[in-house]
């Protein structure tokens, strides 16, 4: 295989995995923006919704029914988690929310193991994972990768439009930026927080569906995805949905090159190096330029 083909393969593969990291990062950023909480339970939440999809697909035989059910259950799970658990710690010290999120992660992983077992199961892709054939060579990029990238772009664009262009988006931003002022202007801040968590969990469940074919479904199979998604979110500045997408793609590319040229065992280490390097050079993330919060 020529060097050029190899490079193209690694790049395309990086974009496709990066899109998944971007989706996880988006889920984290949405919650961070809405409630200033890093949702460490996100990996567990998307694991549960992917298991639900797996069960639905298994019993109905329809991938798209499972897909839809996973998204809806993500929406519901996000809302329930916010209302039942997070609402109680939202106004407390940040550490309380972190501990609650971690506790939820452990609870979800243990619960999933009891219900679905601890052995990772295969998960079908939406489209074929056989790569495109270009001029006699088969690329590492498949129709399913195209689907992954397009879906994540569509979600990011939809979120951007929703936040910028709709009254509901304006309410959600106001609630996140200045809860007290928002209440004085008639915004039902609690509902906006619930909605923010629901949207985030929906995006997270989408990430789970997209990544499941390559990592399989199991209680702990999504832990690395959460870490990479978190790295991508921090790269982008935690506060910026656009930054999350770019951070995800950049991380995907970097890890793909590292894995392809240096060996897969270095991937996690490389992610940490990227994270530390960015935090040292730009502590606010790549997209933090001049958007400091005044309190």
């Amino acid at each position: 295989m020529s060097r050029v083909t190899r490079f193209i393969d690694l790049t395309l593969n990086g974009i496709s995995t990066g899109a998944v990291y971007a989706a996880v990062a988006l889920a984290l950023v949405l919650i961070w923006r809405a409630t200033r909480i890093v949702n460490f339970a996100q990996g567990g939440m998307l694991m549960v919704t992917t298991f639900i999809a797996s069960s639905v697909i298994g019993s109905s035989g329809s991938y798209w029914l499972g897909f839809a059910v996973a998204l809806v259950s993500g929406l519901a799970l996000g809302a329930v988690v916010e209302r039942v658990l997070i609402r109680r710690v939202e106004s407390g010290p940040p550490l309380n929310a972190v501990i609650v999120a971690l506790g939820l992660l452990i609870l979800l992983e243990a619960g999933a193991g009891m219900i679905w077992g601890n052995t990772p199961q295969s998960f079908p892709p939406a489209f074929t994972i056989r790569g495109y054939e270009v001029g006699g060579t088969r690329l590492l990029f498949s129709p399913n990768d195209t689907f992954t990238v397009l879906v994540v772009i569509a979600v990011a664009a939809g979120l951007a439009l929703g936040f910028r262009g709709t009254a509901l988006g304006l309410r959600m931003r106001a609630a996140a930026l200045a809860p007290e002022v928002a209440r004085l202007l008639g915004v039902r801040v609690g509902r906006m927080f619930t909605l923010g968590w629901a949207c985030a969990a929906l995006v997270g469940s989408l990430a789970g569906l997209l990544v499941a074919p390559s990592v399989f479904v199991g209680p702990n199979q999504f832990d690395p995805i959460l870490i990479f998604g978190f790295t991508a979110a921090v790269l982008g500045g935690l506060d910026s949905p656009g930054g999350a997408v770019v951070g995800g793609i950049v991380l995907g590319l970097a890890l793909s090159y590292v894995s392809g040229y240096e060996g897969a065992s270095l991937v996690t280490l490389a992610a940490l190096v990227v994270l530390i390097a960015v935090l040292m050079v730009r502590p606010g993330g790549l997209f933090s330029g001049g958007r400091e919060r005044r309190v």
Partner: protein, 267 residues
């Protein structure tokens, strides 16, 4: 909801007519109507600290009531309790005759009470226009049109697309007042609108407040440390000290009361 006649140049409204309140100082309205906002025996405690202590006052449509006092006199706590941000320990707050103590903040706004908080409360990350729109969202189609605010505050029209954080102090104050007006309130609570502004801007803001009351029939409860500016446009002045009302008089009489001025107002 009725609005007063709109003037093309509300900023140029003249000084208040003296003695809108009856000479004997009772809380009967200027024309004998019921108060837009009636507060009785209001008390707010922060743990063992009593921030608002047995406050009784009335605010009438078309008039400005100034609440004066030093730092820590309980002025901000009083406003926060009225708008529902703090829980009252006792007393009553009636908006157009209806009790609103215990009603959620978001619902009090819907009943026509707008609170412009201290420090202006402009959301810096949003644009000027987004801030304004936010103020009218809960009214839906019955929100005031943006064009009305841009007419009232031409400076804001020029900066409609800019992030609110980039506005000057005076512009931010106009923005937060304009944003409150978007919801077409009947009662307007203003917390220290003059804070940190140049004297000429303070005068402009005060004239605007006067005009809003006179032309739109708004009932304005104005909290100020800048007693001189506030009394110049107010109909009635109330002095708070350690959470208690120590004076409640027509603004002119209060401004003329040298003993009181020296004791509590520092001018």
């Amino acid at each position: 909801m009725s609005d007063g006649p709109m003037s093309d140049a509300p900023m140029s409204a003249g000084p208040p007519s003296a003695g809108r309140t009856s000479a004997d100082g009772t809380s009967a309205g200027p024309t004998g109507e019921a108060p837009a906002l009636q507060i009785d025996g209001l008390r707010t405690d922060y743990g063992p600290v009593r921030a608002v202590d047995d406050v009784t006052l009335s605010v009438y449509a078309g008039s400005v009531t100034a609440v004066l006092g030093a730092n820590g006199a309980g002025k901000t706590s009083l406003l926060r309790t009225i708008s529902g941000l703090e829980r009252a320990s006792a007393g009553s707050v009636r908006l157009a005759g209806e009790e609103i103590l215990g009603v959620a903040v978001e619902d009090i706004v819907r009943r026509g009470l707008a609170h412009v908080p201290e420090g202006r409360g402009v959301i810096g990350e949003l644009s000027t226009e987004e801030n304004l729109r936010l103020g009218g969202l809960f009214r839906g189609a019955r929100s005031a049109p943006l064009s009305e605010m841009y007419e009232l505050f031409p400076a804001l029209a020029e900066r409609r697309g800019q992030q609110a954080a980039s506005l000057s102090g005076g512009e931010r104050q106009m923005l937060s007042i304009g944003r409150a007006l978007m919801g077409r309130p009947r009662v307007l609570l203003l917390d220290e609108p003059s804070l940190g502004l140049a004297p000429i801007v303070v005068a402009q803001i005060m004239r605007l407040i006067r005009a809003l009351a006179a032309e739109r029939g708004l009932a304005v409860l104005l909290v100020e440390q800048n007693a001189r500016s506030a009394l110049a446009i107010a109909d009635r002045g109330i002095v708070l000290n350690l959470g208690r009302v120590v004076a409640d008089e027509p603004a002119g009489a209060l401004a003329a009361d040298e003993g009181l001025r020296h004791a509590y107002l520092g001018f």
